[in-house]
């Protein structure tokens, strides 16, 4: 696989990495005919994120030469801490980097990231990868009966009332009100915790389709990366969910990319009060499949 990013594309790619780093310590790089998919999952398998950059996003995008597998090249697993620092400072990337070339070299098990910077400087980074099976979340978001759509700005305004350290929050949806409350976790003294509730009218959403009153509790921390990405690109966010206990999917898309975060939700969500201990979130069902399927098909 060989791809070339130019100018602003490098910054967008970096921002996607930042969002994925909120989820897990490893990054799966999956080049396919549909585009380059970047995926991450957390250790508890309760959060999964995927960013799919279509070939149109790149200046140049090609999969492996004829000598490699026909359907695409190999799926690479990289440590987030080896690739994230390359894209850490987005402002300096914006100022200095003109082009970025990413290629996968199978014989040497390396992902080569080259930054072509101003003043004729070229920075080449060689990152070792582990060949891995593809990572995919088995979650049919299009089959979810409940859908909310809102500009990223609205969701960001809702979550800003909660501290960045807040782990779980509960989204309560009724035909008249949508509210977010922080969820008190096990181990934290309920008497000492500050409770915040923020609510608004469903009219504020661009699209609101909810069949039954519902309380969904999920991890906010893992979602913030996607919200920040969506806000910087002014993309609307879709929220697809069915019932408590089943995963919720937050997704954004535009002409050249699609991104989604799938989060597990608490099974017994009537326990919203502070006196109830938290239960472990049911893991999102992840399928580690041997073939390289396109991300879109499963999602």
């Amino acid at each position: 696989m060989n791809c070339l990013l130019e100018g602003n594309g490098v910054k967008v790619f970096g921002k996607a990495l930042h969002a994925l780093s909120r989820i897990g310590d490893a990054l799966w790089l999956d080049p396919t005919v549909k585009g380059l998919a970047l995926r991450a999952v957390n250790s508890a398998h309760s959060a999964y994120a995927c960013f799919l950059f279509s070939p149109l996003f790149f200046q140049h995008y090609s999969l492996g030469s004829g000598s490699e597998q026909g359907s695409g090249s190999v799926n690479c697993k990289l440590l987030m801490k080896s690739i994230l620092p390359l894209f850490r400072c987005l402002t300096s990337i914006e100022r200095n980097v003109e082009r970025c070339q990413i290629s996968v070299s199978t014989p040497s098990d390396r992902v080569v990231v080259q930054f072509f910077c101003r003043h004729g400087i070229t920075k080449t980074h060689n990152l070792r990868f582990q060949e891995s099976e593809a990572l995919q979340a088995v979650f049919a978001s299009h089959l979810c009966p409940n859908v909310l759509k809102a500009p990223a700005r609205l969701l960001c305004d809702m979550v800003m009332h909660f501290p960045s350290s807040q782990e779980e929050i509960t989204l309560s949806v009724t035909p008249l009100r949508v509210s977010l409350t922080n969820y008190c976790e096990e181990g934290k003294d309920p008497m000492r915790t500050m409770y915040t509730e923020m609510s608004l009218h469903p009219d504020e959403f661009d699209f609101f389709q909810v069949g039954v009153d519902l309380d969904l509790t999920f991890c906010l921390k893992e979602l913030r990366g996607l919200l920040s990405f969506a806000e910087s690109h002014s993309l609307p966010v879709s929220v697809n969910f069915s019932t408590a206990g089943k995963p919720v999917c937050f997704s954004v898309e535009d002409v050249v990319l699609e991104a989604s975060v799938v989060l597990a939700t608490l099974m017994d969500s009537e326990s919203r009060g502070p006196s109830q201990p938290a239960e472990t979130l049911a893991p999102v069902t992840l399928e580690v499949c041997g073939c390289c399927c396109s991300a879109r098909g499963i999602m």
Binding site: D157, M160, H161, P163, P190, M191, R192, T193, M194, Y195, T196, E197, M198, S199, L200, H201, D203, E204, G273, P274, S275
Partner: protein, 285 residues
């Protein structure tokens, strides 16, 4: 015990948020005393916080548009609560663009100060935000611990140099030593000194001016008319306590003073608009 207050003016809201934010940088928990006319944030000097104590006073009329307070009893018409100022600060920061903010003493899962606000939106129905900040009610028998501190019998009183400059100096000195000596005299001079085995560093400030405390002191305004104006009064303090005080200051106060009781205590006083903040750092050997 009852407390309800309403803040409608955005400047008042900014003002109280800034004060509470400063307090939150000085201490993790403190006592909030609500009286008919004032709000006090008090930290009483205990071994746990290295003997540092704090007293911050502001007038409730400059914050609240509506204020109802019924204290513990009619003779003791005040409410004393132990709070975590960081929680209050965080709650208030999220509602800065609200049309009105209501603060109430409530009983939820425990006693709380509930901050509730309506936020403006483009649609006809506002967004509502509520923060329940847990507090602990301080019983009357402990109120004596949170009384206004008396002015110490200081040896020297001097105006502080610009806090930002002081902070820069102290930040760098902290890398070299854990203790710092503050000394000043009645000729408007102040020195900040550190000394280690390898190096000693002194920063000199001149022409700071000395406040005139007047009233029961002599006509020159000094605490003792016979005191040599060049003689330095000093106190050796834990540098981190001084640094913490300087880090919290967000606004340049209209008046900033330092009273030193030789080898006993450093008493810092900041005055800005209607807010007064006093901070006592004990001297160490």
């Amino acid at each position: 015990m009852k407390f309800r207050g309403k803040i409608v003016d955005v400047a008042c809201l900014n003002h109280v948020t800034r004060v509470i934010s400063t307090i939150s940088k000085l201490t993790k928990t403190c006592v909030l005393r609500l009286t008919a006319d004032n709000l006090f944030f008090v930290l009483s000097g205990k071994v746990a916080n290295g003997g540092v104590s704090m007293w911050c006073e502001l007038s409730q009329a400059n914050v609240f548009d509506e204020y109802q307070m019924e204290g513990v009893s009619s003779e003791d018409n005040e409410i004393c609560l132990e709070v975590t100022p960081e929680n209050l600060s965080r709650a208030l920061k999220t509602v800065q663009n609200a049309k009105a903010v209501k603060v109430k003493l409530t009983k939820k899962h425990c006693p709380c100060l509930t901050i509730a606000a309506e936020l403006p939106t483009l649609s006809s129905i506002s967004r509502v935000v509520t923060h329940d900040v847990p507090v602990d009610v301080i019983p009357r028998r402990l109120w004596h611990e949170f009384k206004e501190p008396s002015m110490p019998d200081f040896d020297v009183s001097v105006y502080l140099p610009p806090l930002k400059t002081m902070k820069n100096v102290v930040d760098r000195m902290k890398n070299l030593s854990n203790f710092l000596v503050i000394e000043a005299n009645l000729s408007g001079e102040m020195n900040l000194k550190i000394e280690t085995d390898l190096v000693s560093v002194t920063t000199h400030f001149k022409d700071l001016g000395n406040p005139l405390w007047g009233d029961d002191a002599s006509q020159d305004g000094g605490p003792s008319p016979s005191r040599d104006p060049e003689a330095m009064a000093q106190a050796r303090v834990d540098i981190r306590k001084l640094q913490q005080f300087l880090m919290g200051q967000q606004v340049n106060p209209s008046k900033a003073m330092c009273n030193i009781v030789h080898e006993r205590v450093v008493h810092l006083i900041l005055l800005h608009e209607d807010v007064s903040l006093q901070y006592f750092i004990p001297a160490v050997a």
